[in-house]
């Protein structure tokens, strides 16, 4: 039995004709298929995170020779890594994630990469979000969302946090978007008039229709909470996303993103801040999700990793293998997964990059099939041309 929060109904919500959304909640929830009680969040780290800095293989003998300016002291030393079992250590800015790891709610996959090998941010992101080795006009997360049952009167199944929808959530399924309010707002009648004028427009018509419905929902869920001073920061957005996902009639899938990873120079200083923001954001997401955390899986991934050797300017250039993170109450955590490829010159890809040993799609497939319970027969359409990439077993709590 799930708790149904009491949702205050604001003036705007009522005037937009969205009261039905809220009052229908109880009924719709009873009708909803049980599989939609699972939550899936994808966090895209755009710009290519150096996985070897976030999760440093301090037990690797040649590490300092490869990247002395970028390595941190071993666990137990001042400013040192947070140990993950004697070989890998977590960057100290990720203390919150370390606590999740120790609570068995975080799994780390090292040497993961998408289906793409030529070190362009823009192609790699597009292919990762397309879910295949070429560019598509829709993303895999949208194609998955389209398969989940719609819940009349509820929010759209999928939510994108931001003013744009990334490719991963573009496609046939309508997607809600949310950001804290920015400008003055007219009377609901004016929105309705504009929605009617835009209705015939193939682009803006559906956008306004979805937007108005979503606003009614999000205002009802988040009503009363003062937005923090840094309302557009990643932790603030993650907290709100968690609350929206937690609501009985809320979305079940969300995508967030955070940039700042393209550390070609002065990497140590730059990663400190960005990793701290990521850490706070994931904890905020957990806080927002509250009881729904136990039914949540979060996939954190980046388009590729960075060179194993430090470059000439105390940074790293575009590489291949990086880390992926799986967090949430539904994850069988406290483990480092995947095959560690090693850092000896012959073990590197092109004598340069961490060799990828896990395809990110094998993680995503498990989350769709075993967590969201999307029948396996749909996976080839969601991830075309990937039959040689099976779902990775054992990621979820039994």
């Amino acid at each position: 039995m799930h708790r149904i929060p009491h949702l205050p109904i604001g003036r705007r919500t009522a005037l937009l004709g969205l009261t039905a959304t809220i009052t229908l909640g109880r009924t719709a929830l009873a009708l909803a298929s049980p599989l939609t009680e699972q939550r899936l969040v994808v966090v895209l780290l755009r710009g290519a995170l150096d996985g070897l800095a976030a999760v440093q293989p301090y037990g690797e003998p040649g590490l300092a020779d490869l990247r002395a300016p970028l390595t941190l002291p071993e666990p137990g030393h001042d400013g040192g890594l947070l140990d993950l079992g004697g070989f890998h250590g977590l960057h100290p800015a990720l203390a919150g994630l370390h606590s999740l790891y120790r609570a068995n709610e975080l799994a780390i996959i090292h040497a993961a990469a998408g289906p793409y090998r030529s070190r362009s941010h823009f192609d790699a992101q597009d292919y990762l979000e397309s879910g295949t080795d070429h560019r598509m006009t829709s993303g895999w997360l949208n194609r998955a969302a389209a398969l989940l049952p719609a819940r009349p009167g509820g929010a759209e199944t999928a939510l994108s946090v931001g003013t744009s929808v990334g490719l991963i959530l573009r496609g046939p399924a309508p997607v809600g978007t949310w950001l804290p309010q920015g400008f003055a707002q007219p009377d609901p009648a004016l929105y309705r008039a504009l929605a009617a004028l835009h209705a015939p427009d193939a682009i803006t018509g559906p956008a306004l229709k979805t937007g108005l419905a979503e606003r009614g929902f999000t205002e009802a869920v988040l009503n009363g909470a003062d937005p923090p001073r840094d309302k557009y920061s990643f932790p603030a957005l993650a907290l709100a996303a968690g609350k929206l996902l937690a609501a009985a009639q809320g979305p079940r899938i969300a995508a967030l993103e955070i940039g700042g990873w393209d550390t070609h120079a002065a990497q140590r200083a730059r990663l400190q801040g960005t990793l701290t923001t990521l850490d706070r954001g994931l904890l905020a997401l957990k806080e927002g999700l509250a009881a729904a955390w136990s039914r949540t899986a979060i996939l954190v991934m980046t388009e590729f990793g960075r060179t194993v050797r430090a470059n000439g300017t105390n940074g790293t250039d575009h590489g291949t293998g990086s880390i992926a993170l799986l967090a949430g109450g539904a994850i069988q955590g406290g483990r480092i997964l995947g095959t560690w490829p090693g850092l000896a010159p012959a073990q590197l890809l092109d004598n340069r990059d961490l060799a990828p040993t896990t395809d990110l799609r094998s993680l995503a497939k498990t989350l769709l099939a075993s967590h969201l319970k999307i029948p396996a027969k749909h996976l080839p359409a969601i991830f075309p041309a990937s039959t040689d990439t099976p779902p990775m077993p054992g990621l979820l709590r039994p």
Binding site: R170, P186, L190
Partner: protein
Amino acid sequence: METRALHALIRFGLGRRGAEPLPAAPQDWLARQLDGPDPDIVMPALSTPEAATTRNGLLALRAQRAQRAAKDPAPQANPVQDLFRATANAAFDTLLTTTTPFRERLAWFWLNHFTVSTRAGQVSALAGAYLREAIRPHVTGRFADMLKAVMQHPALIAYLDNAGSTGPDSPAGKRQNRGLNENLARECLELHTITQAAGYTQTDVTSFATLLTGWSIDLDSDTPGFRFRPATHQPGPKTLLGQRFPEGQQGGLEALDVLATHPATYRNLATKLARHFIADTPPPAAIAAIETTLTRTNGDLKAASLTLIGIDAAWIPLTKLRTPFDYVIAVLRTLDLPPANRPPAINAILGGLGQSLHNAPFPIGWPDTAPDWSAPEAMLRRIDWAYTVASRAKSLDPAATADLALGPLLPPATRAQIVQAGSQRDAITLLLASPEFQRR
């Protein structure tokens, strides 16, 4: 009714400014804007400390560095922020008042092609100078000259991390154990010139990076600016795309000439111009026409622009969704508010709509198709801001404003809603948020 005159202002320009006269011969009017130098670079007052020059930018960065070194807990001024604000305000002034809006749109198009972003620290001090010094002088010139200008501009060198890139076998490389940074080289190949369609390899990227070693920034001398540093330049000739280039700055310049005039580069530029000015998915014949002109003229951007405005498909109205930047500029030109009544922080508005000035997330620049800008919340925010800014336009007659801004492009249904609106502010909002005003 004739739409070409208004379309010329909306598609190729920045939207009609108030009641500015419509051109009698729209295509000639566009073509004439490409004659002579860019009006924005012959403006006076470049000696003031707020002017967008590289020198002022680097001096501001120097002052900021001194402040930080002094660990002043509460510095009185932020020289970099002050400079950015001044140059942003100057840019908005130009955008809102220019009488050569086609040329202005082209300048911002090329700026986006060679994006620099304030998401990298030093760019705030240099972005205005970059537009003025490296982009504007070449908008009607040769692409190769623009490419060489941006690649030697401190803004792009700072943004794509080339200042410290060092040849491993150069004197400095051997002494300090420093080496390459391949960021600028890779993005130049992938985004600015030949693209991955040309089939270059990681070896080409690395080799191009060695060609560009020593292309750096001098922050500290009496004449701060771009500097080629022989001591960090990788010795010896290099090979890029199968061609050999000599040691020294000359090798990099010759490589840029080859890249700038490569057939794959012309294809890339023609595709982007057609996408920006014709449709998200432009007709192949339009791309081919621009590409042919670039090939025939060795990359003459004025000739390419003239070809563009002669393409019939470019005169089909309202096929492109305005980006937030386009939208805000077009709204403010339509309202044509007296300077004292303009919104005080235009860049904050752009931020609220997802497109702050000089702030693209990645070197690929701002996207240029409708799906990138039409998320539900993004569209609602345009309505919200239209309603917000409408409160500043109390003296405007909505129907007259609508007729000026959209004329025959305004469908009767939209016009009827505007005329029947419950208040003047609602009427202006309906105009500015209407489907037709979202497009160009």
